[in-house]
Amino acid sequence: MSARDRFDVIGKARRRVDGRAKVTGHTRFADDIVLPRMVHAKILRSPHPHARIISIDTSRAAAAPGVHLVLTGRDFPVTFGILPVSLDEYPLAPERVRYVGDPVAAVVARDEQTATGALDLIDVEYEVLPTIATPEEALARPDVRIHDYNDHGNIHRNQAFEFGDVDAALAASDHVFEDVFFFEGNTHLPIEQHAAVGAVDGEGKLTLWSSTQVPHYVQRQMARVLAVPDAHIRIIACPNGGGFGGKTDICNHEAVVLKAAQMLGRPVKICLNREEVFYLHRGRHPVLMKFRTGVANDGSITGMHLQTLLDGGAYGSYGAASTFYTGALQTVTYEIPRYKFEACRMFTNKPACGPKRGHGTPQPRFGQEIQLDKIAEKLHIDPAELRLKIVAKPDTLTANWMRIGTIGLAECIRQVVARSDWTAKHRKLPSGRGVGIACGAYMCGAGLPIYWNRMPHSGVQLLLDRSGQVTVFCGATEIGQGSDDVLAGIVAEVLGIDPYDVRCVTGDTGLTPIDLGSYSSRVTVMMGNAAIQAGERVKAQLAAAVAAELDSIPGRIVFAKGRAFVADDPNKSLSFREAVVAAEVKFGTIGAVGSYSPPKPPARYKGGGVGPSPAYSYTACVVEVDVDAATGWIHVPKIWIAHDIGRALNPVLARGQVEGSVYMGLGEALMEEQVFRRLPPKLSHALVHKMPSMLEYKSPTSLDMPEIDTILVEDPDPNCPFGAKEVGQGPLLPVMPALANAIWDAVGVRIDELPITPEKVLRALALKAEGKTPRVGPASFPDVPYPDPMIVPPPWEGGDGNAVDAPPRRTARPKEPATP
């Protein structure tokens, strides 16, 4: 972290380094790759939500003209999975299918048309099994098991933690609020459909180009599935045409094309169609949640008990982490002295859920922020004032042992209150119009990697030569968020050159140092810190050489504007190119590496590894709504949002991330839902996706978007590169609850579930007219068999971060999974 506060590149609004390629059609996405002798793959998918495969006959398909290869589950004996605790997927199902869309077989043919046609020639005999459609059904039918590796029935993960005696805290509270909320699942809907190309190089090694956010993890899992050494597999993450978490999992089709390429010795491409992207999913978990919150008369929270029930879909995916995330970050926003958190993820016969922007945290944030609105109402405290009163303090530990560093939330609240004219509007607008406020927090990268190891989370390498050329290598993946621009911008700032003179080579496991991937808002902080380290190391070499040339000392050499100056004698200088030449003469080839690992988390209990982060970002949001009481139609004229970003590296991109988050949040609030229906009994009665098309899966268009007033609150965080926190995910979180709270202000009804559709508003208005509780939302929370909680005293109750009812964890040694 540089102590400087004046920069040449950082903080300046400028064209992103990859901007030109994106507007000229040069950016090469995975489906743009065409290779000589390339053939095309298509996947046959299960028409049944749950069935046993009795037999597969591929002979007719294999004999069809133009077909090169047919693959089935027999070709893939080894499972994969993104998390080591749930390696539960096969590239092609060998004997069991678990959702409509589960891959069963693949055809590789001369073109897509031929491959698609040959899918019809594969004869599969199924024995249909009972379908589990909902988490409640999954609990009620432990006899119908979707998987057999989990401990009990269809419970995938089941967790309970208690940080201080919450029941005692609630019993001693002036008020206890109990609320149940439901957040419907929704999907990422990146405009780019997933594509991948597998190929064999001249040495017989494998290369996979893919629309993936996590090339390093794909490399590990492809090695596992294909039984090939990791070092013989190169994954190239093409720039993603949108990710949002939808390209962070290992995909069946990636294994299929790589295996096919290996078998055929020629390149094999696949591009999923839109319907298949809905089946691949890995999107937002539907979550039912119950909050019991104790509150003192002054509004301060005395304790919170949160229960969540996740509908996980058919596979593990990131679900073990998602389960923790429905509670791990509830404590970093407001002061919550005691906290109990129980979470359970169920398997159901639907596409697997996983991480979508905010990963597991938007659901409980939705509940908590609406409940705070209800608390404020009851206690006659302004909801903005209430939040200001209870905002968490900087440099503290939370009840569940998360370490908060900087927190700019109070300033964010003050900014949106002032800019939206909140005080003049809240409770004062005419009926039908209203404003709502909500806040949120998100992490800047996960504190622990997905698989246990003690190596860096991000590595950056710099290579300079006598031409003055600077090339930076990093495994980070450009998914539109601007990671290449962050990388080039940081290197350019450190070396005093123009970011457009830095060449970025990223997301290629064959060339670049490992970065764990574009997820959990980790790239700016982790890659950025590694880039600063690499840059400073190179700069030290350059400075030594320049000092020798200019009769000065290295500590006096300053790099700026493409030159190296002697600080107290600016007439003495070399061009950057001359500086590199001098260094190459003095030291030989010039380069350096940098790495970054997050600080050790204070939590020592098992499960405390999910939630810690080098820093947390904070957001406050005010939404104004206009509700038509006759139709229930919700119009949003304007949204004000303030985000604690630490420092905006490139304000154009930072603003774009905030507004994109607002957009996606508004879509989740008003219309987006990944939902399912039963086919009529005379068909198959199968549980199918209700609307696997972009036309039917509603998302906001340009006409639906309100004006957004974006405020970037800059208070540099010492753990972050130039103080910069994340901005890609956090700003989504407050949008949904702020909208729900605005509807309460506008028409006096509570919609405690998402999405908030006109139909639900009308239903609530009708209840209000009948004198009933004007609320639409889940009526109750089921009886979930949570385990006994792990007891972890909060820091102020004498804890040391360990559970008291469990033996302290020994420091585990990094373990590599056995080679299959």
Partner: protein, 180 residues
């Protein structure tokens, strides 16, 4: 040649000249192919994208005779004799079209995947209406889905480009008058 009997009729390629970005391209393709497929697969113009191939997302928009058209819903054989313009034809040599420059500078492109379709749609708008209101811009691009930006920086980019193009237009008039 393929000789699988009755399928031959469907499989036999058509040959025609398509006029793309001002160039006459002699191209041979299967008659069922959409303009999108012929542009991407037979003319190597991969700048045009696809997000659904059902006319739902707008990523594949190109201009046909000046109008924005979803290339996934048009058969290439219908386009003989038409002027087809794609994102590859927007820049003049090394000089970006004002729309391209504005999108690159002002955050109009994040992942860049919907960008070619939106650029072509916006160009059709600005060619017809040099000074559109924000509302007109929002209407014009309402068939182009973007999941990254929230559309605000896209609208701002189009407005900035329109402003630039009007200035260029009046400069050009001044210049030509000056010369006259």
């Amino acid at each position: 040649m393929d000789d699988t009997g009755s399928k031959v009729g469907m499989q036999r390629n058509v040959q025609m000249v398509l006029r793309v970005n001002g160039e006459d391209c002699d191209v041979s393709f299967a008659p069922y192919k959409t303009l999108l497929e012929v542009l991407r697969e037979d003319l190597d113009l991969t700048g045009t994208k696809h997000g659904c191939e059902l006319g739902e997302c707008g990523a594949c928009a190109v201009q046909v005779d000046g109008a924005p058209v979803l290339s996934c819903l048009v058969l290439a054989v219908e386009c003989e004799g038409a002027e087809i313009e794609t994102v590859e034809g927007l820049a003049r040599g090394a000089t970006l079209h004002p729309l391209q420059a504005a999108f690159a500078d002002l955050g109009g492109a994040q992942c860049g995947y919907c960008t070619p379709g939106i650029l072509m749609t916006a160009k059709a708008l600005l060619d017809a209406e040099p000074d559109p209101s924000r509302e007109r811009i929002r209407e014009a691009i309402s068939g182009n889905l973007c999941r990254c930006t929230g559309y605000q920086q896209i609208c701002e980019s189009i407005e900035a480009a329109a402003c630039e193009m009007r200035a260029e237009g009046s400069d050009a008039k001044v210049n030509s008058r000056g010369k006259a």
